[in-house]
Subunit: 523 residues, 2 copies
């Protein structure tokens, strides 16, 4: 979801909002970009075969994550005979919701069993869906109810080392925007921007700043009702007791709280955002149902892919026994670094290309509490508290408001922080996360805790990473793997401009399905 | 809710976050402010009477809006014998949810009957609850499930006359914040703010602006991915097709889109906000149930209040017949301009004081559609579109996502705009609102419409106004009516610093209940 490396990739490859380096690179490789957007997608249909005399083919899909399931689901609409082989004991891939009874063994053999109460869960992988993302179309099509995911909350907190007490977003924002307004109004008043601003511009800018920064006509920021109150406004003479402050301009800048503000402007992160009611795994569960009984086989680890002139042959183990499946086509919807280890005859270029993605460690922990103290004590109903602690982000739940219990995301971290937590035992991870949380929220963070579950994605068998990013160096690999290799197609968020997002997996699946179906119709 | 007059009141009376003029005024009147905040509220309890030998009294409550119902509910906790007289045929007051079958006759006799489908509704009065408001405590206490109210949405629109096409919030914000950053960075770079900023300050400010305005290290705003896309990023080579733009700095300032940004910073309006699942009237319905059978009498219009040494006598009509109720105390929880018309013996000062509040016309219309085209065609899942048309605000529903039908708030307007719509017939109001909406959303705004319902609060019998505001001129009246007049207490949002908010009604009720109970215990 979030990571500077991904932004770097998008910035460099899709410079200035899109066209840039990627198209140039592809032009140099002799590939013209297709113009298909999500809006243009047309699922394969049985009637497509009516005039051609062709028939739907047999397809083996390797990997039952979202890209694999969506591929089988879409092809199934036209009657393709699809089989999905999933190595783990549950479909969904990183779309993984932990509940009471969920069992997860890490690479080193340590096993956790979820002890969450009924109705409590954590979305260990994807957890939020932007309004524009195709993921929502699948929720609608599959009849999965959705609700708001609370990605931003004015009442949530910012906590940096050395800050003493955390500060609410609303307070931090009022102060930063207030001082920004004061400074820009001052510069404008003084004529410092006369070369950039007409007289009308200046008048309009000042009117905007007075309102937006709550600095009034005197152009000085001296605090604002927007900061919040120590005692809220109420009846009769309760005008509201202001919070202490504001701090000085220098202090506000030194605290660096403003660096958290741009998150909410990101195209992928801006509210409103959504989640399926009941857990993100409602999506793979619905896809598996729609694909049909017996077609999604779990516990099947692929051991070999052989591409031939007339078909593809895939070997896999199930329950310790080697098995084989033959098909007309294959969609390899596994993480690239996992696919890279599987013997195949697709050539050295493909083998090499699969190793070029930048795989990141990612960790997440769910903390179930016996009470919803963040609501009752702190009036925080959802949202995210940002920190510079190694827990990175702390999420409050977007469902179950006013319920008896609730589950926080106690950490959601990447790279060095994810590695640090991942190498601990689950009990040690909990202790570390709770010790950090206590600094922000006090003792209840420890005393009200009921149970926890942690997922270190880089330590989960058959996944081994939070996400695999294209880089500025592997554009030829990205382009190569986005083309069919004989009868084998690759699919996954790692082959899209929505890398790290479930929507990328869906979009990749749609693209592969479109190309495969077109080929079948012409074959 | 919203209204410039209310802000004026708070600004002047509660200057600089609270204390200011109001306390000064009250000091001059010899009244010291009490220190009770909402957090300190303690409901009356049966055990309170154990040591005093006193007993719970009989209380008649005039008005079954939220202030009246909450008063009876809280007093009932200690066994007070409460009767609520409500003039309308439904309790809740302005907390009024219109569904299929809801019937409403206006002052001039014109009647509407709701034709909304099952599950569709409009909250004609209060519709949103901030996290800090006591209203949420009542939802928790009464077991009313809540969900996010979508008060802000980056994908919602801003539409001004002469704009041509509407612009999304995300796009407008990216442009305004981008140019603000560029201008302030330029002034900072040029040394124009050296008298206000240390070297460290400058460095920190520039780092903030680069990120926050997405202007990068070159300090020029040339657009941003935050603006959104014509074609979204997707698979393989779909880097995303940028929207045209950005407009020039002068054009952005001239459009005036930035004036809508500060709404989301307001203490009462900042997300996250909430609503009861199923309609705001879940609250009065739950209060009525908790108060107990027979205690809330609808269709009872009060005709007289007589305060005596040992009790209060209230006359009212029910079904055309005059009736009388005697009680130890009375809580008059009616709008002040309605109470002002009822004969009473509380004196000329009270009579006069009740007429000093500033009563505002307010209108709201629900538009039910046969499809949720705002979701499917425009990817707008909730939120508010702001306009300078006479519809003022256009709300998308915060529930029923992906359902078959949905209900917009087609206008939510005040003062002159509310008067203009209010004087039309319901059919004319619909035609006018739809014609305006078509300018923003095109023909589906008309062709998909199923039915509408409009509420002109200033034309609703026994309410006759959207809200009644204290003003800078009526502080003595506000203070007077916040004191018991003999055995009569006044209650309502109009007697609080949360005027126009349901939370104000609750807070006023709590205050009156606390005072009345304390008096009974001492009597």
């Amino acid at each position: 979801m979030r990571g500077i490396s991904r932004r770097d990739f998008l910035t460099v490859v899709g410079a200035a909002g899109g066209a840039g380096a990627m198209f140039a690179t592809m032009g140099a490789l002799g590939l013209a970009p297709t113009a298909m957007g999500t809006a243009d997608y047309r699922p394969p249909q049985p009637s497509d075969f009516r005039l051609t005399g062709r028939a739907a083919a047999k397809v083996v899909v390797l990997g039952g994550g979202i890209a694999g399931l969506a591929s089988a689901y879409e092809l199934g609409k036209a009657g393709y005979d699809c089989t999905v082989l999933e190595a783990r004991d549950v479909a969904g891939g990183r779309n993984f919701t932990v509940r009471g009874g969920t069992r997860q063994t890490e690479l080193d053999g340590q096993t956790q069993v979820g002890r969450f109460s009924d109705g409590e869960y954590m979305n260990a992988g994807p957890a939020r869906i932007a309004q524009w993302m195709v993921t929502l179309d699948y929720c609608r099509e599959l009849g999965i109810p959705i609700e708001v995911f609370t990605n931003t909350n004015a009442s949530a907190l910012i906590y940096h080392e050395g800050m003493g007490a955390p500060v609410r977003y609303r307070t931090a924002k009022a102060d930063v925007y207030g001082y920004v307004s004061e400074l820009l109004a001052k510069a404008t008043d003084q004529g410092a921007l006369d070369s950039s601003l007409t007289g009308d511009d200046k008048q309009r800018l000042l009117a905007f700043l007075e309102d937006w920064g709550d600095i009034g006509a005197q152009h000085r920021y001296t605090g604002s009702k927007r900061r919040g109150y120590a005692v809220d406004p109420g009846a009769f003479d309760q005008a509201g007791t202001p919070l202490p402050g504001p701090p000085s301009l220098s202090d506000v800048l030194a605290r660096g709280v403003g660096r958290h503000f741009s998150f909410e402007f990101e195209y992928e992160q801006a509210m409103l955002m959504f989640q399926p009611v009941g857990g993100m795994d409602r999506i793979p569960a619905a896809l598996v149902r729609a694909i049909g009984p017996g077609r999604v086989r779990t516990g099947c680890a692929v051991t070999g892919i052989t591409n031939g002139d007339n078909g593809v042959s895939v070997t896999y183990t199930r329950g310790g026994r080697e098995q084989r499946i033959d098909a007309d086509y294959c969609i390899a919807a596994m993480p690239p670094h996992i696919a890279a280890r599987i013997p195949h005859n697709l050539g050295a270029d493909v083998r090499q290309a699969l190793t070029t993605f930048d795989v990141h460690p990612v960790g997440k922990m769910g903390l179930e509490y016996r009470s919803r103290w963040w609501e009752t004590d702190h009036r925080i109903y959802g949202g995210i508290t940002e920190t510079d602690l190694d827990l990175d982000h702390l999420w409050y739940p977007s469902h179950g408001y006013h319920g008896r219990r609730g589950t926080l995301i106690g950490y959601y971290n990447t790279d060095a922080h994810a590695v640090a937590y991942g190498q601990l035992t689950p009990a040690q991870r909990e202790a570390r996360a709770v010790a950090q949380g206590v600094r922000i929220h006090g003792d209840k963070y420890r005393t009200e805790l009921a149970s926890s579950f942690s997922v270190a994605w880089h330590r989960i068998p058959h996944i081994e990473g939070g996400w695999a990013l294209p880089t500025t160096d592997n554009i030829p690999a990205y382009v190569l793997l986005n083309q069919p290799q004989g009868r084998v197609y690759f699919a996954g968020d790692w082959l899209t401009f929505l890398v790290t997002w479930q929507a990328g997996a869906f979009d990749s699946a749609r693209r592969v399905v479109t190309e495969l179906h077109s080929r079948v119709l012409k074959s």
